[in-house]
């Protein structure tokens, strides 16, 4: 732990030195054929956008000696992609980006894979979740809204979300457990659909990621009530006439303590050597230095936590435990487990 911290301080404080050292450090191993970048989700979604962003940045700045080829393997809520990486033992030319389905898919479907079947590389960012309502409704705070939900009686209010037994529904159940409100959860295919369903008042609230709902927010159709994180988002640029991401209170501040962050991290094939992992960590560090990446992080109001090594695998192990607990309580576990 101490060692890792020291490394970060070194990298941060003496960036120039690190940059000159970097080539010698990476000279040990280079990919010898194109790198397959698996996306365990469909084209156009959040993970897909991020992976293609990385592919584009790497190509533009010539960060990899071999091209990166992006492949979508979305079948079975992403199980197809994870199984593919799990089965390519020792192949250093295959990486995968994760979303929460790393935890939720094996738990909900019983498909046999686990993050331990792959090699953790790095956490790129964490995606935030915000509780949204239609701007034409009278609810200004989470309390207003949740009181209305409770007063309306069970199942009268509809929560829209992406997929079933995945992050959006887990968050919904967590909110229900904590506040006693009871929603009807309606699963849709993608986050963009969900935001538009809220604008059209086909659902009463959503827990969209910032990037999925920002356009409708700026157009004055949606209202954010609170962000499901322990601290506010840092971005202070005004998104609407009077609000920035930073002006959205945390749910904890407003009286109900639900937190959820979605992992946007990288794993690679099992059984690879440390030098392979180091190579990709180096590439991703360079990707993060680019203005395009920083701009992308700000647009999507991401939590830009970066982790590697033991720190990262500890985080993932904790997140897995948390998901197991949340899903067990919600009754989402597959019968075979």
């Amino acid at each position: 732990m101490v060692n890792l911290r020291a490394k970060y301080i070194f990298a941060g404080a003496a960036f120039a030195a690190a940059a000159t050292l970097a080539p010698t450090a990476f000279a040990q191993w280079q990919p010898t054929k194109p790198v397959t970048f698996v996306i365990p989700a469909g084209t156009g979604g959040g993970a897909d956008q991020m992976a293609r962003m990385i592919q584009g940045i790497a190509a533009k700045y010539n960060l990899t000696s071999q091209p990166i080829v992006v492949v979508n393997k979305a079948g079975g809520a992403g199980a197809e992609g994870f199984l593919d990486v799990k089965q390519s033992n020792g192949d250093p030319h295959k990486i995968i980006i994760t979303l929460s389905n790393l935890f939720t898919t094996p738990l909900a479907t019983g498909v046999p894979f686990n993050w331990k079947d792959m090699t953790p590389v790095a956490m790129l960012a964490l995606d935030q979740f915000v509780l949204w309502v239609n701007a034409e409704t009278p609810y200004k705070t989470p309390k207003d809204y949740l009181d209305a939900v409770k007063a309306g009686g069970p199942n009268k209010f509809k929560m829209g979300g992406t997929g079933s037994k995945q992050e959006d529904q887990i968050i919904t159940v967590a909110i229900e457990k904590l506040t006693g409100a009871k929603f009807t959860y309606i699963p849709y295919k993608g986050g963009g659909d969900v935001a538009v369903q809220l604008v059209g008042k086909h659902v009463d609230s959503t827990v969209n990621n910032p990037i999925e709902a920002v356009a409708q927010w700026r157009a004055g159709s949606l209202r954010p009530l609170c962000v499901l994180d322990s601290k506010r988002m840092p971005y202070k640029e005004k998104m609407t006439s009077d609000m920035s991401w930073n002006d959205i209170p945390t749910c904890k501040e407003t009286g109900f303590d639900v937190e959820y962050l979605m992992l946007r991290g990288i794993f690679m094939s099992p059984g690879v050597q440390q030098q392979h992992v180091d190579y990709y960590v180096g590439v991703f560090k360079k990707v993060m230095e680019t203005p395009e990446w920083k701009d992308f992080m700000e647009k999507g109001a991401f939590n830009t936590t970066f982790m590697t090594g033991k720190e990262y695998s500890d985080w993932v192990a904790n997140a897995e435990k948390a998901h197991l607990e949340l899903m067990k309580e919600a009754g989402f576990l597959a019968k075979t487990n």
Partner: protein, 504 residues
């Protein structure tokens, strides 16, 4: 007239030489992508997306959207020549396009398909130019019950399709529904009918089924019937284009209906594939020559192609104004917007005028350029049919196999394709209709999830399907189409009675 001014500014942007070159490159690539089955427009655009990073966003979207137009055009080529739909939205084109080619009218069918594609696109672009904000608001009224009503309408408009036994039609459709249900169920988040076999996780892909049922099935049939293509006598000059154009105005009503269906399905967003099926079904129902559909009617090519292109084009509208993609390709373009630092949504039209109007102008120009390119190639495409079967059949098989593999990068899909080929052959021999199965496979999944979403939000009450005028109207239309044979019979009876009574 603010729009016209903005549009001309857009033309100025598009007509820069750099952008024009990108446009032609995009169209040509798109046609190639459209011709190759499996490598759909969405895949093609996704693969090229990172290459556009160093371009200005307007140039990038011009190139990528031109790939999309090209793919829309190109999908028709193999459908007509070889009965292999290059794209899902060209499946309905095979129903009459391929019989036309077998009759030696490949040139006419291609010209009809390309021209009506263009007409559909043009109607949709005009709609986008002048009615964008208005239309976008209409799309917001579509929730799960409305979507289900639209899908119901598609099925109803198609149900009388089979000439043969209604039981065979039912069997074929139910088999399609069963296959659509394999894989992950989005409503409960659990796996269905995979029997613990992880290869089945992704379910049966519509594209693979179509490549097998139509493409491989057709090759098997041709082998049985004597190892030669019918329709080698296709005319090989550009005169055929002009001759076909002379016939087209007679079908103005079909085109109008198809454009309306297409625009509506693109915006709502139902997508190009259901639009083409619905349009074909309705054209067959209301055409004077409805009985001859399926034997090589030009009208049966015009209807689905016009609707598919109108839907494909208008699908970009909800993407730009609302940030919801009306088609898988639009979804990838949407990701592109975000990567280029543009935020799709209601403010895009205000904040990024140059980009939006550049794109709209490129829709006009791109479709004109595309039409010219594909029309000049008609004799060339038709000439492919003169290549001996023993040379071209293995090539088609290889292309089909590559296409099936590309969909998911999975070997199993190639075996599935072969299996579907055998099913297609057996179905034809036993006179079971294929279209109902394909339709159920492509729409079954969507219809099921909209139905269950509706049931969730109404707490299980079916009354949600007549809870507002919009959904009630669509449902009513569906029911009318479903019982159309009965209704027309009653109407005829009433008429005859009126004649009899006035006569006496």
């Amino acid at each position: 007239m603010e729009e016209i001014q903005a549009l001309f500014h857009g033309f100025a942007v598009v007509l820069q030489p750099f952008n024009l070159v990108l446009m032609v490159i995009g169209i040509v690539l798109g046609v190639i992508i459209g011709v190759l089955p499996g490598l759909g427009g969405a895949n093609g655009v996704a693969i090229l997306l990172p290459l556009t990073f160093s371009m200005p966003p307007t140039s990038a979207i011009i190139m990528l959207s031109c790939i999309y137009w090209g793919a829309l055009f190109g999908g028709a080529i193999t459908s007509i020549l070889f009965n292999i739909p290059g794209e899902p939205w060209s499946v309905a084109t095979t129903f009459d396009g391929h019989p036309m080619a077998q009759k030696g009218q490949a040139g006419e069918a291609l010209t009809g398909a390309f021209t009506s594609s263009f007409v559909g696109a043009l109607v949709a672009v005009v709609l986008i130019t002048f009615l964008a904000p208005l239309v976008a608001r209409f799309a917001l009224r579509f929730g799960p019950p409305e979507f289900f009503a639209v899908q119901f309408l598609t099925f109803c408009s198609f149900i009388g399709m089979g000439r043969g036994s209604p039981f065979k039609t039912m069997a074929s459709m139910m088999l399609g529904f069963a296959m659509a249900a394999v894989g992950l169920d989005t409503v409960t988040g659990t796996l269905r009918m995979t029997f613990g076999w992880s290869e089945l996780l992704r379910g049966f892909d519509f594209l693979i089924a179509v490549i097998g049922l139509f493409g491989i099935g057709e090759i098997l049939l041709t082998m049985e019937e004597g190892l030669a293509f019918k329709g080698m006598s296709a005319k090989l000059n550009l005169k055929v284009v002009l001759q076909t154009w002379r016939q087209l105005p007679a079908y103005w009503l079909t085109s109008l209906r198809a454009s309306t269906i297409g625009c509506w399905m693109g915006i709502t967003p139902g997508g190009a594939t259901p639009a083409s099926f619905m349009s074909y079904g309705i054209a067959k129902r209301f055409s004077k020559n409805g009985d001859k559909f399926g034997t090589g009617e030009l009208e049966g090519v015009i209807a689905p192609e016009t609707a598919a292109h109108a839907a494909g084009t208008s699908a970009l509208l909800p993407m730009l104004t609302l940030g919801i993609p009306g088609s898988p390709t639009a979804a990838v373009l949407l990701g592109g917007l975000l990567i280029w630092g543009l935020q799709p949504g209601p403010l895009l039209f205000i904040e990024q005028k140059e980009f939006v109007w550049g794109l709209i102008a490129s829709m006009y120009l791109g479709n004109i350029v595309g039409l010219i390119i594909v029309l000049t190639c008609v004799p060339f495409f038709a000439a492919i049919l003169r290549v001996p079967f023993s040379i071209i059949a293995p090539i088609i098989l290889v292309i089909c196999a590559v296409g099936a593999y590309t969909v998911h990068n999975a070997m199993l899909d190639i075996w599935l394709m072969v299996l579907f080929g055998v099913i297609g052959y057996v179905f034809k021999k036993l006179d079971y209709p294929l279209p109902p199965m394909v339709l159920a496979l492509v729409l079954g999944d969507m219809a099921e999830s909209s139905f269950r979403q509706s049931m969730l939000s109404s707490q299980g009450s079916l009354s949600i399907f007549w809870s507002n005028p919009l959904v009630a109207t669509i449902f009513g239309l569906g029911l009318i189409l479903l019982f159309w044979p009965l209704i027309s019979w009653i109407m005829q009876l009433a008429k005859r009675r009126a004649v009899v009574s006035s006569g006496s």
